[in-house]
Symmetry: C2
Subunit: 208 residues, 2 copies
Amino acid sequence: MTEPAEISSLTLNRLSLYLRCLRQLQDAGTTHVSSGQFAQHFELSASLMRKDLAHFGEFGIRGTGYRVDDLAARLTTLLGLDRIHNLAVVGMGSLGSALARYLSFNDKPFRIVAAFDVDGRKVGHKIGHLVIHHSRDIPEVIPQTEAQIAVLSVPASAAQQCYEDLTVSGIEAVLNFAPTQLKQHPAVRTKSVDFQINLEELAYFLSS
Amino acid sequence: MTEPAEISSLTLNRLSLYLRCLRQLQDAGTTHVSSGQFAQHFELSASLMRKDLAHFGEFGIRGTGYRVDDLAARLTTLLGLDRIHNLAVVGMGSLGSALARYLSFNDKPFRIVAAFDVDGRKVGHKIGHLVIHHSRDIPEVIPQTEAQIAVLSVPASAAQQCYEDLTVSGIEAVLNFAPTQLKQHPAVRTKSVDFQINLEELAYFLSS
């Protein structure tokens, strides 16, 4: 089994999706599944799934399909979700707090190790066991934590400055929720979650 | 000016992005911009932008570029953002509440007209001026509102049932935040915002 140098973002996202579907099957007590059944149940493409998985070696058993536990475990390892990833959350407004709460659920491989805000009523207070620091202290605080990924949930006007502070502090990846076009640092993996643009797209199709 | 029958999702998302950038220029007091300046400032492709806009007729003035106010106004109309879109929010947990708060800001063309949850401590209470209804009443309540779009922010296990209730209630588009693969209704435009998958993608690249 040789791994390709770099998996595409689309393939990776599909692998995440397969894993999620497998976990649903585990919860339902299903132990074996064929690619055809799997694809039909979750409305996926069976051939694409077989192709995606074939990339990473022999997963299925010819004629029997996949052992659900096995495939889930192998995808978990492959995706690096068998270890903890430390996160910093910048912006503890209602969205940032909701994300922090969501991501702190125990079954997730993500752990929040630092939280930041500019609001004097929040700074110094705790969220769970974490003290909220002032965002201006990002360059000082981040290197003291093991945070590799930052979740950016600040207003658009503050996003670029926070992003730059994060990149100089050693953060390697940023998940941006601020509705703005960030000038990206080439060495920092950056993804934007832009639900406002998704909503505008839906609105367009209803108007037209 | 003839409009194409259907603009692709990618083109639409870029138009939303141009509009957002134009609003930043408006806020900064910029009145005119060339496609080259615009593209450079926001790290976009100038040629793609010219092509996208040329689709919809003559926007720019040769040699002078674009009048910011004009272009922003025309994109606003084109995207259907010059009128109010009524939303229902299903799932008033921390994420749903954060989304509701975010979307209720005055400058947005989205108005929340219905809210639902299954939690007895929330049902019957108000969020802003809206009473939170029980999710089982979606088929009864939605037709009494003018909601066209639903924001789905319920746990994965509840998402499919809510989605089906929404589609039979006359909802025409759904923005799904539940981390699950919905079996989609062909007549309902459905977009998923899946930040868990985005986060897993970032984690993968850090692990590898």
